[in-house]
């Protein structure tokens, strides 16, 4: 990825426009980087600021003094946020696994040249990208006919198949050498054995990248919760966070038991919102540096193959 143009021609002295250009490059990139990181910084700092200070000074780059008030409130009764975490982790793991399994099988079959219906099925898959019935029929189907409202499975199902990834996977599977598949066939291996033992290991880069994006979609999904869930014991993390941010009542009832008397004055709702945002986002952000390369690779695979 990192071709270093400057080092490639060490003999040539830097010209003046080369220097201006470098200064400009660094300035632009540094500026964008700051703009990208600043909002995260503000949220974290805001979550460590005391409620009294927020009312007095608003959110700032650095608090007058650090306060753990919001985190104390958030972790006093952590059951609900922990349950939301549990649900999100489990749908992400299970959903990503199933999605990758189905996507890779389908992608593999669609590019096999001896599979005569591949043209039809590719069109069948591709057409759903061009045209759809819209939100309402889909909503009615799920609520009235399939009766999937307030079930765990609806959160898996809405994100299960991403047609774009199927097509990406199909394009990637083309790069798996056909000779290997042929050889396995001659040795008497069945289709599934060949697929799981020979093709999948070779498709690891695509599995990793598409898997990352699928997992990210599951992790960040909130609309399904909003459309289909009323039972708050099923709320995934992002929808739970959405409810906390948009209703002080929900925020209160989620963090303190009904019975305890707490005056609205001492309830740190502003900093608590930010603390909850940090709690819901923090762990995944900490994972990010380790995953970055897979995302970059995934984007590049998609870009090159169109």
């Amino acid at each position: 990825m990192t071709v270093q143009r400057v080092k490639l021609r060490p003999g040539i002295r830097k010209t003046r426009d080369r220097k201006t250009f470098e200064v400009l490059s660094y300035t632009f990139i540094v500026l964008i980087t700051i703009l990208c990181l600043l909002p995260f910084w503000l949220v974290v700092i805001g979550s460590f600021t005391s409620e009294a200070e927020i009312y007095q000074r608003g959110y700032s780059l650095w608090p007058q003094e650090f306060s753990l008030e919001a985190y104390n409130t958030a972790f006093k009764y952590p059951d609900k946020v922990l349950r939301a975490y549990g649900i999100t982790v489990s749908i992400t793991v299970l959903g990503t696994f199933l999605s990758l399994l189905f996507t890779s099988m389908c992608g593999y079959a669609l590019q096999r040249e001896d599979f005569r219906s591949r043209g039809f099925f590719t069109m069948f898959v591709f057409f759903t990208m061009l045209f759809g019935g819209g939100l309402v029929p889909w909503y009615l189907l799920i609520t009235n006919y399939l009766k999937l409202k307030d079930t765990y499975w609806i959160m898996i199902l809405t994100q299960l198949v991403n047609v774009y990834f199927v097509i990406l996977m199909k394009n990637f599977m083309r790069t798996v050498p056909k000779a290997l598949v042929e050889a396995a066939k001659i040795d008497g291996a069945g289709e599934f054995y060949t697929f799981f033992r020979i093709v999948l290991p070779l498709a690891k880069p695509a599995l990793a990248s598409i898997g990352m994006f699928t997992a990210l979609n599951y992790w960040n999904e909130w609309r399904t919760g909003m459309l289909f869930l009323q039972d708050d014991t099923l709320f995934p993390l992002q929808y739970y966070l959405y409810r906390l941010l948009n209703s002080v009542e929900f925020l209160k009832s989620s963090t303190v038991p009904m019975t305890s008397e707490i005056s609205s004055l001492s309830f740190p709702s502003e900093s608590l919102k930010l603390a909850m945002t940090v709690i819901a986002t923090g762990p995944i952000i900490l994972l990010y540096p380790f995953l970055q390369k897979y995302f970059v690779k995934g984007i590049t695979i998609g870009a090159v193959k169109g």
Partner: protein
């Protein structure tokens, strides 16, 4: 008819010789039939006066009334215009920033620095729009927001963004770019890395300066990537980014004039006023608009640069 017979023959062949491959396709085929093709039949709701008791097929027909109602309300023009203009602005602003960021990133020599800055630029793509909603509130809230704090300390008047629609086009363009530029710049950067170094070398020998190299080598080299991204974006130009518009504005009626797109309007008419017939009519209107723009763009591309056409 001929195509149908050929399809039957192929399928019969595969049933005999490629059973395993058919099984591999089965899960996704079933899924798409249930969650994509069945709802397409539900399009009839757009022409019905839907009620729960009689269901989709029992409810009485009402012709084009749902559409008429939508277009007469004045909402149709408003949400279509908003969707179109916002997306057009996103396409222009983001592509310019992405190409600029990619060119500048490719000029940066330090490996660590490059990885860090690229990572930072991609970070916003990693979080959900719910979190972006919290961030926006943190920045823009009238009483406590960071932006308003800065404005006050500069002696300027505060922005009352949650009651005044005039700020929103700027906010959406900014936040959308904030979230997406990292992703796009990686795509363009990959394309730049694909341009042969020899071309730059010989241009340098011929005395080309940096700007000339960008103008005559890099930008032409990015053309096909740009066209592909453009077709995809134009194909979706009538699809509003529901997550963004809903998370930032929600049910704040004061802002609808400037912030309502087709998707948020459909969502609200479905969930808060249960207007199944009309919501579904708008959904159909949107699907048809999308299909027509996609096909038209592709036709156009096929005429001017056939190698970049989508199909």
């Amino acid at each position: 008819m001929k195509a149908l017979r050929r399809f039957g023959r192929n399928l019969a062949f595969d049933f005999k010789h490629n059973k395993a491959l058919l099984v591999m396709i089965l899960p996704i085929a079933v899924y798409l039939i249930i969650f994509h093709y069945l709802p397409m039949c539900g399009i009839v709701i757009a022409f019905k006066q839907y009620n729960f008791a009689q269901g989709i097929f029992g409810s009485p027909w009402c012709g084009w009334n749902n559409f008429r109602f939508f277009f007469m309300s004045g909402k149709a023009w408003q949400v279509t215009r908003n969707t179109l203009l916002y997306n057009a602005a996103f396409i222009v602003v983001q592509n310019v920033l992405e190409i600029a960021a990619a060119i500048f990133l490719s000029e940066i020599a330090g490996r660590r620095f490059k990885k860090f800055t690229q990572g930072a630029m991609f970070l916003p793509n990693f979080i959900s729009w719910v979190v972006v909603g919290a961030i926006a509130y943190n920045l823009l809230s009238y009483d406590f927001g960071f932006v308003n704090n800065v404005l006050t300390s500069l002696g300027q008047e505060k922005w009352s963004v949650y009651t005044d629609p005039q700020y929103w086009p700027g906010i959406f363009i900014f936040l959308s770019a904030w979230k997406h530029v990292g992703y796009g710049s990686i795509v363009y950067l990959a394309a730049i890395m694909g341009i042969s170094q020899d071309i730059y070398e010989s241009a340098a020998l011929d005395g080309a300066n940096e700007w000339q190299k960008i103008r005559y080598i890099t930008l032409p080299g990015l053309q096909s990537t740009f066209i592909i991204l453009l077709i995809l974006a134009i194909g979706n130009i009538f699809r509003g980014n529901f997550d963004m518009f809903y998370q930032l504005v929600g049910n704040n009626g004061l802002l609808y004039n400037a912030t309502d797109v087709i998707d948020t309007y459909v969502f609200r008419s479905l969930l808060s006023s249960y207007e199944f017939g009309m919501s579904s009519a708008i959904g159909l209107y949107q699907s048809v608009l999308c299909l027509v723009t996609l096909v038209a763009t592709n036709l156009l591309i096929r005429r001017i640069s056939p190698e970049n056409a989508l199909y």
